[in-house]
C-alpha cells in the first residue's frame, strides 16, 4: 500500500466508514463515490456499527504475503448488521472448536502488518467473537 492509498483508506480501515446511497438505500463498504446499483452519485458517508455475524471461516496455514510470520491465523467472511459483507481476520479465538456459523462478532481495531514497500505500519479492522471462546 502506498502512502496516498494508506491515507485515503484510513476512514474505512479505522472507523468502518462506508457509503449509503440516498436514492436506492444500498449500503457499500468501503466508501464509494458512485452507487453501482442505481448509478447515483448522491451518497453519504456513514460508519458501520461494527457488529455482525460470522458467515464462513478457515484456518490459514500458508499465509498471505506479509502474514507468513503469524500463521496459523483465521480468515473469515463477516456480515455486518447493516447487511454488508467484508473479509477480515478472526482474532481472540482461544478454542477453535468453539467457532460456530452465524456466531456474533464485532470489529476491532488492530495492527494489520508491519512492513510494506513504503515502510508504513498498517492498521485496520479484525473481527472478534462477541462472547469469548
Amino acid at each position: 500500500m502506498g502512502v496516498a492509498q494508506s491515507w485515503r483508506t484510513q476512514s474505512s480501515r479505522y472507523r468502518l466508514a462506508g457509503s449509503k446511497c440516498n436514492e436506492c438505500k444500498n449500503y457499500y463498504f468501503p466508501v464509494t463515490v458512485v452507487c453501482s446499483n442505481c448509478e447515483s452519485d448522491n451518497l453519504e458517508v456513514i460508519n458501520f456499527k461494527g457488529t455482525g455475524k460470522l458467515v464462513e471461516w478457515t484456518r490459514v496455514d500458508e499465509g498471505a504475503s506479509g502474514f507468513d510470520h503469524v500463521v496459523p491465523y483465521y480468515f473469515a467472511i463477516i456480515q455486518l448488521d447493516e447487511g454488508v459483507r467484508l473479509s477480515a481476520q478472526l482474532v481472540s479465538v482461544m478454542d477453535e472448536s468453539k467457532i460456530t456459523d452465524g456466531m456474533p462478532v464485532r470489529m476491532t481495531f488492530r495492527k494489520l502488518m508491519e512492513s510494506t514497500r513504503e515502510g508504513i505500519i498498517e492498521y485496520g479492522f479484525k473481527a472478534e467473537p462477541v462472547n469469548p471462546i
Binding site: V55, T58, R59, E62, A64, S65, G66, F75
Partner: protein, 390 residues
C-alpha cells in the same frame, strides 16, 4: 458477404509444462509459436495480430510490454499486445482473438498463452503474485489467499450439499490419473485420497495437493476465419462461441459462496444461443485451480446437477471413461498451471481430442466440447464451446 459465424483452430503448439529453468520467457514462447506455425503451415507473414495471454510477467520477471517483446524475439511483426485477466488471461486472449475474426477485421491471427513462474523462488513473492488477482486492498490485506478463499467455498459446499473431503480429494486423484497419460503434463505421478488429505495443510480443509503447483509453460494456437480455414484443414475444429461472465472480484461481495455465477451466466447463454443442452457436451476442460474449484465449476456449467459435483466425481462420472470426462489433459492440477498459458492449453487439449490424437486419454464419439477458465477466485469467467463444421 455472409456474416462470419465460426472461427477455426488451424494450428497448435505447446511446450511441456513444469520447471523450465533453462529457458527464457521468449524461448518458451518461441517453442510454442513455431510449433503452431509448422503444424498449420501458415507463414509468419500471414499472422495479422498476436494476442499474448499472461498474468504476471510484471511480478515474476519485471517485464511488461510483453506483446512487443514476444514479437521481437519470434519475428512475428504484426500488431501484438498482452491481455491480462489474472488466471483467465489466456482464455480472454483467445476470446478476444475469436471476436476480432468474427468482426471481419482479420483472417488469420495467433494467440499465445505464456507464464514463467519459476523466476520467483520465494513463497511470499509467489503468494503476492497470485494475490494480485484478488481485491488486494480489501481481501489480501485482511489475510486472504487463493487457498483461504477456495477453502471457504469448500467448507460452504460441504455444509450445504454434504460434499465430503474425500470427494474433493478424488478430483485430484482423477486429474493425476489423466495427467499420467499426457506427455506434456507437469505431473505424471499418481496420488491417492489419503496422500492428498495428508499433505501439508494450506487452509482448512484444503491441503497442498489440492492446489496447483508453480509452473512454466507456453501454448499457442493459430485461428482462422471459417472461409479461410478450409485452405489449411479439410476438417477444421471450430470455436463455435465464447462467452465471458462476471462476478464481483471479492468473494465476500458475492451472493453465493457455492457457485461461480459468472460461469453459470456464460454457460447458460451458450446453451441458449446455440440451442444445445448439457447432454450435447462430450467432455470439458475446467478451471481446477483448487480441487473444490472443479466441483463447483462442473455444477455452474450445468454439466452435473447443482450440489452433486462431489458425488459425480466419486462415482466416476467425470473420469476418462465416465459419462462426462472432465480435464482429460490432467487439468491445471496435473497438466500444470502456468497461469496465462492454461486457457490456451485447454483449447489445445480440446483440439487434440477432436482430431483423435489424444492417445491414451482419447475420448470417443465427440459432439461438442467446452473449456472453462477463471481469473482470481472466480470474478472473471470464460466459457468456450467447440465443435466440427456443420
Amino acid at each position: 458477404m455472409k456474416q462470419r459465424q465460426k472461427v477455426a483452430i488451424i494450428g497448435t503448439g505447446m511446450t511441456a509444462f513444469g520447471d523450465l529453468y533453462e529457458y527464457e520467457i521468449t524461448d518458451i514462447s518461441n517453442l510454442a509459436i513455431f510449433e503452431a506455425l509448422r503444424s498449420s503451415k501458415v507463414s509468419r507473414k500471414l499472422i495479422e495480430s498476436l494476442y499474448v495471454g499472461n498474468m504476471g510477467s510484471n511480478v515474476f520477471e519485471n517485464q511488461e510490454n510483453l506483446g512487443n517483446l514476444i514479437s521481437t524475439y519470434s519475428g512475428i511483426k504484426s500488431p501484438s499486445f498482452k491481455i491480462q485477466a489474472a488466471e483467465a488471461s489466456g482464455a480472454v486472449a483467445l476470446r478476444t482473438a475469436y471476436k476480432n475474426i468474427l468482426s471481419e477485421s482479420k483472417d488469420i491471427v495467433m494467440v499465445l498463452g505464456v507464464e514463467k513462474m519459476t523466476e520467483t523462488t520465494k513463497q511470499p513473492e509467489l503468494q503476492h503474485a497470485l494475490a494480485t488477482g484478488l481485491d488486494t486492498m480489501w481481501e489480501t490485506k485482511m489475510g486472504a489467499t487463493m487457498g483461504a478463499l477456495f477453502a471457504i467455498m469448500a467448507k460452504s459446499h460441504m455444509k450445504k450439499y454434504g460434499t465430503t473431503r474425500e470427494q474433493i480429494a478424488q478430483v485430484v486423484v482423477k486429474n493425476h490419473n489423466n495427467g499420467a497419460k499426457n506427455p506434456k503434463a507437469q505431473f505424471h505421478n499418481k496420488l491417492t485420497i489419503e496422500k492428498v488429505m495428508n499433505s501439508k495443510p494450506v487452509a482448512t480443509p484444503l491441503n497442498l495437493f489440492d492446489a496447483c503447483a508453480m509452473s512454466d509453460g507456453a501454448a499457442s494456437v493459430i485461428l482462422a476465419a471459417e472461409d479461410v480455414a478450409y485452405s489449411y484443414d479439410s476438417d477444421p475444429i471450430f470455436i463455435i462461441d465464447s462467452k465471458q461472465g462476471f462476478a464481483p472480484i471479492a468473494l465476500h461481495q458475492r451472493d453465493s459462496l457455492t457457485e461461480f455465477s459468472g460461469t453459470k451466466f456464460a454457460a447458460e447463454k451458450l446453451y441458449k444461443d446455440h440451442s444445445i443442452s448439457n447432454k450435447d457436451i462430450s467432455f470439458a476442460e475446467v478451471h481446477d485451480i483448487f480441487s473444490i474449484s472443479e466441483i463447483i465449476a462442473i455444477e455452474s456449467l450445468g454439466l452435473v446437477p447443482v450440489g452433486e459435483g462431489g458425488k459425480a466425481t466419486e462415482e466416476g462420472v467425470t473420469s476418462l471413461d465416465g459419462e462426462i470426462p472432465i480435464n482429460t489433459s490432467g487439468g491445471l492440477k496435473a497438466r500444470g498451471a502456468p497461469l496465462g498459458a492454461t486457457g490456451i492449453a485447454q483449447a489445445i487439449e480440446v483440439y487434440e481430442q477432436f482430431k483423435g490424437s489424444a492417445e491414451k486419454r482419447q475420448v470417443k464419439d465427440i459432439n461438442y466440447a467446452m473449456s472453462h477458465s477463471m481469473g482470481g477466485s472466480g470474478g472473471t469467467s470464460v466459457v468456450t464451446l467447440y465443435g466440427r463444421g456443420n
